[in-house]
Subunit: 415 residues, 2 copies
Amino acid sequence: MNFMRKSLLSITAEIGILFYSLFKWIFLAILAGVVVGAAASLFLLILHESIDFVLKYSPWSFVLLPAGLVVSTYLVKTFAPDAAGHGTEKVIEAIHMRSGRIPIVVVPVKLLATVITLSVGGSAGKEGPCAQIGAGITSSMASLFRFNDIDRKKLVVCGISAGFASIFGTPIAGAIFGLEVLFIGQVLYDVLLPSFISGMVAFQTASLLGVEYFKFPVELHATFSESGFVLAIASGVFFGLVALLHIEIIKAVEGLSGKTSIGPYKKAFYGGCLLLVLGLLFGTRYFGLGTETIEQALSGKDVPLLAFFLKPIFTSITLSVGGSGGILTPTFFVGATSGVTFAKIFGLDPMLFACIGFVAVLAGAANTPIAATIMAVELFGSSVTAYAAASCIVAFVISGHRSVYPSQILARPKS
Amino acid sequence: MNFMRKSLLSITAEIGILFYSLFKWIFLAILAGVVVGAAASLFLLILHESIDFVLKYSPWSFVLLPAGLVVSTYLVKTFAPDAAGHGTEKVIEAIHMRSGRIPIVVVPVKLLATVITLSVGGSAGKEGPCAQIGAGITSSMASLFRFNDIDRKKLVVCGISAGFASIFGTPIAGAIFGLEVLFIGQVLYDVLLPSFISGMVAFQTASLLGVEYFKFPVELHATFSESGFVLAIASGVFFGLVALLHIEIIKAVEGLSGKTSIGPYKKAFYGGCLLLVLGLLFGTRYFGLGTETIEQALSGKDVPLLAFFLKPIFTSITLSVGGSGGILTPTFFVGATSGVTFAKIFGLDPMLFACIGFVAVLAGAANTPIAATIMAVELFGSSVTAYAAASCIVAFVISGHRSVYPSQILARPKS
């Protein structure tokens, strides 16, 4: 029985270490969740108040665009050059290049610059900045606790997950997104537990503080059929190509903008003027977050057939001339509207495919098929799971090893 | 515009390669799904007919146990020594050690030996053998197509996913389980698409052929609350320890059995007699698959408080003396009954915690938190997602780097 005693001892020791680590990380995760959830709520409150305030003077308020972009450029250049560019991308870069070190000044600067960019009508997202705020706060917490690089990275990943969870309104998908987005083809299982708890706590905190999320008109009741499944796979091919287009437009515009040799403030001003001209041509729905258009698409209402093509142009101009913000909301915009387009072309249910496109283009553009599928379950109910998973996985494969986030590291090829 | 032309060309070439690979693997995945789904249906049909036939003579039929185990030992030793041991473990070993090479003779031998073991009352599961059948068939397909080792491995993983999907009755969880179970802390993203399609097609094939799945009395409607979430996390600690106990009992009994120096047929016979004695002492519910007890637990009915402790003893004796079968059904048995025990101890809803235990012990024992969470959504509806995810992830962390499958390779530590 000696071997049993030894095995019992080793199990006891192992469990002891596990429990210590477990309680430490549950505590840290809850702390990070509460703080990031509260900060995200503050960000969203200021953002929505500002957007509403400016919208009162709409459509004339849009003439503020060039000036707004200049101010955003000034803020970021002067106080936090690290906060330039779109949110999630900078966070991924910080994790991979600097063990998650993000200066705390990024938090207020990013918050303010994003609020200004979005309120004057710049086309950008709010998720990335929120992840950046979460990462900035947890990075400072790690410095306060004198964490080593490994623990710092883990805590910052929790902060990212908390940021996403509190802004997506889908806590599980948000938490998993934070774990899946850092690499292509890898989930960070070692941070699974604390990230998940941070995400859930941040979401609950934000909800308690009165944050309201996307309202979906009705839970989908899709009945599974073989032909429906084949269509879902076909839609995945389409959404994968749309994701690819989205990625390439952003890259091309950023490349063109990087090649122009005018100074940053002039660039911001001219970029703003260009956006105004585009807005006159194609309408104001491409300005700002575009929440209304996303909701229209998800309720199966009509949207312009080429909306999914125009949104990335507006977004890439906004971000490449100095606007601050993320690209996830625009990605949702592209996904939902391209779903309506797909449904119109093939005579299908626009609402169902807007919902599938919403998650599938995310899966393809950000390389997060698991988080996107879970998001579908959280948003649209479990009846849509098989279709959403099929479309997300195909879109993920189709987009290849490209990404809206150039800093993502390829951990495992897709096929 | 030269760089745009070049970039366009490279995208076109990339898409071409992608589409070729896509169509090849969709075709292979559908083929594997249909064949494995049909074979799994045949296996299940023979299994259930045999169990029903023998049960008519119950309880006297259990005296066949020693003889049945001797026959199972004879079959496996003579015709397919590779098919010895529990199913999933052998499949994981084949993938890691022999690029998925599994002789086709394993398929009929495993089928027959498992049917005999389970019909006479041996305590074992049907999932592992089914995964082994799927792997054996796809390995032969790969030889037929003269695949290289990389493609063979991928196709065999599809076969495994198809086997699980057609027997779990939860196609998405089944497919993901096949991708998550090979390593600890790694999902095989490069086989995500074909595995998923194989799983869906196999499940549809089995359903069309009349396979029926676990019936759950009613979809759960859990309303999320903070205290419920804390309880779910606490239950994860309990279920993780239960998973650990399950793993250690199996390991200890296998170790003891390996140390006895009597011949294999005598061992099978004495093992069968020992099981009969245990059955007389603790009842017949621990014989066979134990489906009835699992269903009782999941409907919130009373089960013995220590059922979760007795089942692994019956199972490990059955498997270590030459019985053929898997350990997933026993793991579900342990999970569901330990959930009832947990609920009784703390005065909670036994049905809810039986459902959570069902997936959480799986997550802890097999190290598959994502597949287990998806399984909860597929079986119990999306209202239980947050609780199930919390419990599964905690159980996964608690069980440490142990596993019911010693061949699992550690790809990423859990914390």
